[in-house]
């Protein structure tokens, strides 16, 4: 997903000299073409994310379309106040691109786990929050972000959805149904965002063997949330499941629950798969940590079975 995002930015930047790409000294091997071919639109600000956000604001204030690039937490949490005061308050065209969503850098330790970013970023007025689940979507969404402008947070995962039932339409601001048609009734509907949706795809395959109808909804745009689209889907389902590689606080599980309550479309059961409010005591590959926290396909199926829902 990371490569297609940078590649599409490169293509757009070649046509629009107002696009400026800032990196906090990261992106080895990924940003080389951009740096070489567009030196006037590429700025390495060094390992200084607060300054990167402030420089981004100053550039955008002067008419530039700015993209900052770093590993999640560094260009989000480290410079949160700069994003809030300088970018969001001034409604500037700055997009924060973070690679390493969730446990993408699972072996690198707690500093590199981006597991509170969605909650924090979506709390700020004017900030859009986007987290694609597949390479194709990442490419489409970055193009739509370039078109519509910031403030925006783009969360890029190392993992991604590899098998999709059919080519879905990916529209910024709308949910995408990635399995089952929009008109069919479902026993279970799984909402999620990011590469972890691959676990939903695998869980669905298992649940379908049991004769269950399962819909998967990609909420790639977490903010602004497509509430109407979500209600429409929930009204056609019995059990609602959310899945995300993120702390339970402020994540999608809370958002969907809020929609369900506010809109009065309460499902027969509501199950959330997310991270508990603790720091992981272990490290490991992304897939290992998902299993460790019960967020892999098998754990999802088992949990739903234990609850008598599958």
């Amino acid at each position: 997903m990371r490569d297609i995002v940078v590649q599409n930015l490169y293509i757009a930047a070649k046509k629009d000299r107002n696009i400026v790409f800032l990196t906090g000294d990261l992106g080895f091997g990924v940003i080389d073409d951009f740096a070489r071919d567009l030196p006037d639109q590429f700025v390495n600000v060094g390992v200084a994310e607060q300054n990167m956000a402030m420089v981004a604001a100053g550039l955008a204030l002067s008419g530039k379309k700015v993209f900052t690039y770093s590993i999640a937490n560094f260009n989000t949490l480290r410079c949160l106040e700069q994003l809030r005061n300088d970018v969001c308050y001034h409604e500037l065209d700055v997009t924060t691109i973070s690679v390493g969503g969730g446990f993408s850098y699972g072996q690198l330790g707690a500093s590199h786990f981006a597991t509170e970013d969605v909650a924090v970023m979506r709390a700020m007025p004017n900030m859009r929050v986007v987290a694609p689940s597949s390479k194709a979507d990442a490419g489409s969404l970055i193009n739509q972000i370039i078109e519509t402008g910031g403030p925006c947070y783009l969360r890029i995962d190392k993992s991604s959805v590899t098998e999709i039932e059919y080519q879905k339409e990916c529209k910024l601001g709308k949910v995408s149904i990635i399995a089952n048609g929009p008109d069919s009734l479902s026993d279970i509907t799984i909402f999620g965002y990011g590469g972890i949706l691959q676990q939903a795809v695998e869980a669905r395959a298992e649940l379908m063997k049991r004769g269950l109808k399962v819909t998967i909804v990609d909420v790639h745009t977490i903010k602004p949330l497509d509430e109407d689209g979500i209600v429409e889907i929930i009204e056609k389902t019995k059990v609602v499941v959310t899945i995300e590689e993120h702390n339970k606080s402020g994540g999608l599980n809370e958002l969907i629950a809020q929609v369900v309550c506010a809109k009065g479309c309460v499902p027969s059961a509501y199950v959330s798969f997310c991270l508990p409010d603790v720091f992981s005591k272990v490290v490991g590959e992304q897939a290992y940590l998902l299993k460790h926290f019960g967020l892999d396909a098998a754990s999802i199926v088992n949990s739903l079975t234990e609850k008598g829902l599958a």
Binding site: V43, A57, D86
Partner: protein
């Protein structure tokens, strides 16, 4: 004394009067910080910066970023005095429902380039603007005013490295060096000296001026960027609370609002100065 200079001093004296009125009516803080930087603001908005009050968004204007946003009253008063909006609007400062917040905000206030209030934000933003102007080959300068206490914030030093590395000679950093911060002197709080050496080591062209001498400030600011690519760093030695004898050099007036008798006595001092300048 030239009539031009007297007019600039009158401009500053009027701004001081507005600041006292605004902070007293609104019962807001930071009168000391406002009075400290009034002569710097008066210098910038008279003959140093290019701007057009009728077209605040004019793309060729020089940019001013007030990083020490707590002296918001001084910025609003300066903009009104310069003609960006009617002075009667200043009466809304700190009042329920007003746009004129204690800390500088651009929302609904013509002429405010950027909102600040949390320290250590302005300089990095000024760097971004300066870089954009350089990329677009525009002959526009960016001035950024910081307080001395504000230099405790590490983000400023990130920005200073950036300004020097990217040769932002169109950037002019101004320090309102009144040597007092919120609780105590700058030196007792977090030693800043040797400031000139620090700025030089970070790659700046460093100048030092009397921050209440408009002629001296303007002469320094008017120096156009040279071809060394070095950004400018102007240390203005100032007095916190300048212009009101009992507010000068006192940490008390960082937060205190002038009470009735204090207001009258402060106002009479400012009016005496205004009248003196008016007779020149």
């Amino acid at each position: 004394m030239s009539s031009g200079l007297v007019n600039r001093q009158l401009f500053a004296a009027q701004v001081r009067k507005s600041c006292l009125e605004m902070t007293s009516r609104g019962k807001s803080s930071h009168i000391g910080s406002c009075l400290s930087c009034v002569d710097i603001l008066a210098s910038l908005y008279n003959c140093v910066m290019n701007f057009n009050c009728a077209r605040p968004e004019w793309s060729e204007r020089d940019r001013f970023i007030m990083s020490k946003g707590h002296a918001g009253a001084a910025v609003y008063a300066t903009l009104a005095e310069a003609g960006f909006f009617d002075k009667s609007i200043l009466q809304g400062h700190y009042i329920n429902g007003s746009n004129l917040s204690g800390h500088v905000s651009h929302l609904g206030v013509p002429g405010v380039e950027f909102s600040t209030g949390s320290l250590g934000h302005g300089l990095g933003v000024a760097c971004g603007i300066s870089l954009a102007m350089k990329l677009d080959k525009k002959n526009v300068r960016t001035f950024c005013l910081l307080s001395d206490g504000e230099l405790d914030e590490g983000s400023n030093w990130e920005a200073m490295m950036f300004a020097s590395h990217y040769k932002l000679s169109n950037l002019c950093v101004i320090i309102d060096y009144n040597k007092l911060q919120s609780l105590d002197s700058t030196q007792n709080t977090m030693g800043l000296e040797p400031l000139e050496d620090k700025a030089r080591a970070f790659g700046f062209n460093v100048s030092r001026v009397d921050g209440h001498n408009i002629e001296e400030i303007q002469a320094t600011m008017a120096i156009q960027p040279d071809d060394t690519g070095k950004p400018c760093f102007v240390i203005c030695d100032t007095t916190k609370g300048k212009g009101v004898s009992f507010m000068e050099n006192s940490v008390l007036w960082h937060y205190r609002t002038a009470q009735e008798n204090e207001y009258e006595s402060a106002m009479s001092e400012l009016v005496v100065e205004l009248e003196r300048l008016g007779r020149l």
